[in-house]
């Protein structure tokens, strides 16, 4: 059985990506996974999915900057050597960083593996029996081409969805209006995006305003967002043959 391992930042990422993988790419929820991975604490989140003879393990590492500690605690590097894992995909927020800087930070946590933003890289490694095998890596930085985090992706996606676009634009305008005098803190892009998303969902679904993202995420038809479709295109290769960038084969 082919195993795909996807590490993302937080529970919101897990929920949105899991929704997308199930709705668009036909993955189904499973109660457990063959690697035996489970959340170590309340901040981590592990979702197991399956499709045909593949399984996909989607792990929320517990937030921004927690990739290295998650990799260490869960012995991910050892797992990659010892278990039959076809690929490792990492999905992380761009915030204010460049692709290169993010890739370097992630690479530090992955013993010897090369990872690049926006490309499947085939890494040849030696397992503990001395046999060679290959693991594909992919770094998906969100948003793709602007500063921000998952909330920016959600805002862009909502603007694409005809039924949601009017409301999200109104909410964005409202949040912008608060920046000057009332809540200057919202001048920070991440905070303003979080506030926009939070406000949008509260208005959209007032009865669930105090509930978690888990309740809200399934109430939007994310499949009709073109920007989200473009951003999540790399997911089509999970559980399938990857289109490896051969110019970077085994680059260390």
């Amino acid at each position: 059985m082919m195993t795909e391992l996807v590490l993302v930042e937080g529970v919101s990422d897990v929920l949105l990506i899991s929704y997308y993988l199930q709705k668009i790419y036909g993955w189904k929820h499973e109660n457990s996974n063959m690697l035996g991975m489970t959340a170590n604490d309340a901040y981590e989140h592990v979702e197991s999915l399956a499709k045909e003879d593949s399984q996909l393990i989607l792990c929320g590492v517990g937030g921004n900057g927690k990739f290295a500690s998650f990799v260490e605690k869960h012995r991910v590097n050892t797992m990659l050597i010892e278990k039959n894992i076809a690929s490792l995909m990492i999905v992380t927020d761009r915030d204010e960083d460049t692709d290169g800087k993010i890739a370097r930070r992630i690479k530090k946590a992955l013993a010897g593996l090369t990872i690049r933003a926006g490309r499947w890289i085939s890494n040849d490694i030696t397992d503990s029996f001395g046999q060679s095998k290959s693991i594909n890596t992919y770094l998906l930085v969100v948003p793709n081409d602007e500063k921000g985090a998952l909330e920016r992706v959600i805002i862009n996606a909502l603007k694409d969805i005809p039924e949601e676009s009017d409301l999200i634009r109104e909410v964005s305008t409202f949040i912008d209006s608060l920046k000057v005098e009332i809540v200057p803190e919202l001048c920070q892009t991440n905070k303003s995006d979080k506030a926009t998303v939070g406000t949008f969902f509260s208005i959209k679904n007032p009865q669930n305003a105090m509930r978690s993202f888990v309740t809200i995420v399934s109430k939007i038809d994310w499949s009709s967002s073109e920007s989200l479709r473009q951003l999540f295109l790399p997911f089509q290769y999970l559980g399938a043959e990857k289109l490896v960038d051969e110019s970077l084969l085994n680059e260390k």
Binding site: M34, L35, G36, M37, K73, H74, R75, T78, M79, E82, K83, D127, S128, F129, G130, Q131
Partner: protein, 371 residues
Amino acid sequence: MGHINSIEINRFRGIKQLEITDFSNINLIVGDNNSGKTTFLEAIQLLFAQTQIGSIKKIINQRSVLSPDRNSFYVSFIKMFDIEQLADQLEFDIYAESSNGILRFQLSGQEKSISGDEALKLSSLSPREKMQYKRSSAFLPEAAKVFIGSIVSQINKKIAEQNIRCTSLDTGLTGGALKKEVQYIPSFGHMRYDLLQNIVDNPEYKKLTIDILRQFDSEIADICYTKADDGTYLETIITKNGSSMPFSVYGDGIKKILYILNKLFASSDSILLIDEIETGLHKKYYDTLFPVVFALANKLNVQLFIATHSNEAIDAILKYGDYENEIEKKDPIKVITLKKIKSPDSNVVARNVTGKYVYDNKKVFEFEVRL
């Protein structure tokens, strides 16, 4: 005689080439069925068989311990070679580094087709057996096989060579056997009895054994040989109320424990090989038995190679490593997983990791030790 630090096996049975280094005092040999675990244990024994034909015969016969099939002896013999080798260039070679120097065992030669009459002449059958064949010539096959070759054995700087011949009519090999330098416990060996020979004459070992047995059955007072009505000697347990109970009335567990202890006492400053340690033992005994065996092996300076299929046995053995205790110390356990691979050529490969590595991985994910 010492312990071995590393081994290299070339073209022996299903192993094309295998090198394992850095053995510890307790070495767990794990893997799927037919992955080479028993072959690995046989290779260690051959290293110490030197050029003694009788010792080699015993090693070949171990695989059929409960029902020795004399008629298939030649097949068992010739299957020691890699089946992909040419008949006129058969050779296998086992090399090890031990605490007392180099050990090497090499068997080479060629297999030829001969007539049944020629095979009868060349065979090591007794004159009486040969006569039986001649009397009933219908049983003598028209075509037969003969292997003619030589053994080269090296122990440190001492090299010895011995010619060897075996025909497909032979039911064994004729020659001397050494007093076993490496003790071997086959998976069902405890069912053959002979469990007390190294225990009853040594008061210290006997007391220790009785103390250990009492942890499993508090009614046990003594172990000894008693004379049966027909004059034969029976291995017997005396209970606290004075009853004599032959071993046959006890279950496999007590016999297995005694068998392990008996062999352990005979392995002082040497090596004990245990194939499928879990056979005959209920898992509830593991936590009591294994620490005793390991502590005793440590005291007697015995290096252990333990083959197992059992995840429960592996977990119980790893407890001896005391890995929750963070104190830095040399890991007493190595876990060697053997795996058969088909590509690019059929071979056996090994993963050789510490007990702590296995313990730490098993805590975090589904780390399959046995494969």
